[in-house]
Point group: C2
Chain length 469, copies 2
């Protein structure tokens, strides 16, 4: 089996037919909830609930066992007591199922008894070629076809389609753990690898490398199974798509916690860090960054350098943001004489970076053209590689005007722009954010994140050109 075959995870993300093996009790049965989630998310394939106690569930015919299904099954979702799992996996293999997601937990993560059970499963997988994600996972999500294997109650029915793949070893990265709809994250695929008894981070990277819907990969990992192969794979993937890693274990105690959680050894932090860097992966520091930073890669071009222009409506924030920019590897751009003169025509105070429009706004009849000319001027400057601009949200109806400004200034521009939104009402800020993101601009309520997103893009731009060579 060569690498390419081994990494073909299509059955996990693009199955034509799914068997769901678990409780069909309509009051919280995990099999029932998994099927209901699929129907609510408009999964387009065929679904076969499997349970000997039911003839029907959610309007679908139920089968006593997987062998009774006449259709070819691509993916089985197994949510049964752990002792039953090896037998069920065996039945799946006999039926010719290509892939199984084992949601059940109580395996290697709990001790030697569980590890023994897990080894039985792995043995079947190796013997038959049945690929397995898990155990101890919520599985996969694919916005292209409405697939969601999550067996927990999700209080919404839609995840936005986009180009970010979120991968994890934890169920926190799932539709039952995040307000994916409210946050409008533009998602291609999600995957919780769980215990990684078979499919691991390398397989997933290989699949996402080839996935045309994915243009950026955010990956939370606690351990790496084969360091050499992982680094080799990241290097290949990072030449085409950004690979952003959230990996705990920066501190000694953190590394110990990661080891005890996954039941596997974690390597020396320094060795990991150097290897990640060499391979072109970019490490993130917080869960907020994990969710929010990938947005910068969805619609924005890569910056050609690290010189940032910052436009705020408030000098205090502008000044504080200089520290952030410098600390994450950006340089405050020195404006060219042409830009200085364009900005000075608006007001002599504006001709410095960060540009503070604050004093101009109250004394200008209509400050929006000033904002537009300011953004246009700094984008035109060949000393500027990327821009963080500010939009102020009040309850007034300035949103359409902002959208027009963004549309006009961005014409023919090939520099990335991130937007910091502030204002007086959360609901209005959230609505403005959705509108701005709908236009392809990553929007943030923290200016530090807006700047760090650009810094991450600048870093990836350097990574990409070094890997291209």
């Amino acid at each position: 089996m060569n690498v390419h075959e081994k990494s073909d995870l299509r059955a996990f993300f693009e199955p034509g037919a799914i068997a769901v093996i678990g409780s069909l009790n309509e009051w919280g049965g995990l099999g029932y909830t998994a099927v209901r989630n699929m129907l609510r998310f408009n999964y387009g394939g065929r679904i076969y609930p499997i349970n000997p106690s039911y003839k029907e569930a959610l309007g679908l015919r139920a089968y006593p066992e997987i062998a009774a299904v006449e259709d070819q099954i691509d993916l089985a979702i197994v949510i049964t007591p752990k002792q039953t799992v090896p037998g069920i996996i065996d039945q799946c293999a006999r039926k010719g199922v290509k892939a199984a997601i084992i949601v059940s937990d109580g395996f290697a993560e709990t001790g030697e008894d569980g590890a023994r059970l897990q080894r039985q499963i792995v043995e079947i997988s190796h013997r038959t070629g049945l690929r397995i994600i898990g155990p101890n996972t919520i599985g996969t999500l694919n916005t292209e076809n409405g697939l969601v294997t999550n067996p927990y109650s999700i209080s919404y029915d839609k995840v936005y389609k986009g180009n970010i793949a979120y991968c994890s070893q934890s169920g926190i990265v799932g539709a039952q753990g995040q307000p994916l709809k409210d946050q409008a994250y533009p998602i291609s695929k999600m995957c919780d690898l769980g215990n990684k008894c078979d499919v691991n981070e390398v397989d997933l990277l290989n699949y996402l490398y080839q996935d045309p819907q994915t243009s950026v990969i955010a990956m939370h990992i606690e351990d790496v199974r084969d360091g050499h192969k992982f680094i080799e794979t990241v290097r290949r993937v990072a030449a085409r798509k950004p690979v952003l890693l959230l990996k705990p274990g920066r501190t000694e105690r953190g590394a110990k916690a990661a080891a005890s959680h996954t039941g596997s050894l974690t390597g020396s932090e320094r060795v990991y860090d150097a290897a990640f860097r060499q391979a072109g992966a970019i490490r993130l520091d917080t869960w907020r960054e994990f969710w929010e930073i990938p947005r910068i890669f969805v619609n924005q071009p890569l910056p050609q350098g690290n010189r940032i222009a910052i436009i705020t409506f408030t000098g205090g924030v502008g000044v504080a943001s200089v520290d952030t920019a410098e600390e994450c590897g950006l340089a405050i751009a020195d404006f060219s004489p042409v830009t200085v003169s364009r900005l000075s025509r608006l007001s002599p105070q504006l001709a410095r970076n960060p540009v503070d429009l604050g004093p101009i706004i109250p004394v200008t009849e209509n400050p929006l053209p000033v904002l537009e000319e300011t953004i246009a001027a700094v984008l035109d400057d060949s000393n500027v590689d990327c821009v963080t601009a500010t939009l102020y949200s009040s309850s007034d109806a300035e949103t359409p005007v902002y959208m027009d400004i963004l549309d006009r200034v961005m014409k023919n521009v090939t520099k990335p722009v991130s937007i910091w939104i502030y204002g007086t009402e959360l609901a209005a800020m959230e609505e403005l954010s959705r509108q701005v993101q709908g236009r392809g601009f990553p929007a943030y309520f923290d200016i530090e994140l807006a700047i760090k997103a650009l810094a991450t893009a600048a870093r990836y731009s350097r990574v990409k050109s070094s890997l291209d060579q």
Copy 2:
């Protein structure tokens, strides 16, 4: 004039009568908007709009000049073109006004012409004893009496009363720049010091030191006018109330930006940092921290040490949070044998820190008593000084049950607890957050912030005992 007199800023925060000098044009006149804001925020004192072109504004009698008002004026708010300001300040002094907030800008922050104008004002202040905040400021806010001097449009009419004083040199820290109502920040006072031509950070600290409504001070400063006096003052204040500083200039370029923004010299960063630390001030890193961290000091006791217990519903987040805790100076508590045995009775997997309830929840009929016993057990442990606990918000109605649990476990407990909230719907998360905060617990959507809040409390606890000695 001794320090005590010089620092009595009562007229700025507790005026009985206010004169508002500025445009009363109802379509955006800044004087008009300032008066309207005061009325909407239910300011209880007497308001005198001053403008020769109007006989009346918002149902209040308007006066052509401040001399025409027969009442004693405590505070004048000056929002007029900069050239007129020295004359108006002179009139205020003649009238016996105690304090003036100069909103107008265009002074020292813009260059030598403005600096000259500013010196004229300072001269009047020194000669007459009239105290001045500003120029270039939005002034003060006091939730005790509904005072708000902000002349910009605010889309809400209420700020929550509480014990946090937010101070700044920037208008971003104001009701026109923050969703103060939606975020339910528990606020005592707010103050934008602007150009600090007279009243500065030392005066403000002295006032807040004595203010019974204020129990924690969050202060954004770009420069310090008298380093020696500032350090001396911080040391005195910090022995009684936490002083949290957001001060840009961590990087060289950041320090340069701060200097050019305020028109004053900023000192060497290293000197500042050492002096702050010595005086017991605690520095914050981001605006988000500036707004969110002070909450931990409002209702929670100070921790007696730095050993944290972390309770999550998701192992992945628990593991990653160990790094955060260690990096910000906390130690992961080693549970006592009693705690290990109490937790093991619930499930053998629970007896380690961070405690991951994730695997227990799906297999437990009612996981809430398990959550309650877990929180109670770790709070009882004498090896634990502080706790971050997790609440999961779905669209279900678990909120009242959570509140009951918090009420019960916190009885007779004298350790601080911060709450990390996650879930599937932003609106439900925000509502749960408000409920939890209403019970006195600081709640955060980022676990890193929940932990950093406790780390800040632990640091302040050490500062306080060293200053007490």
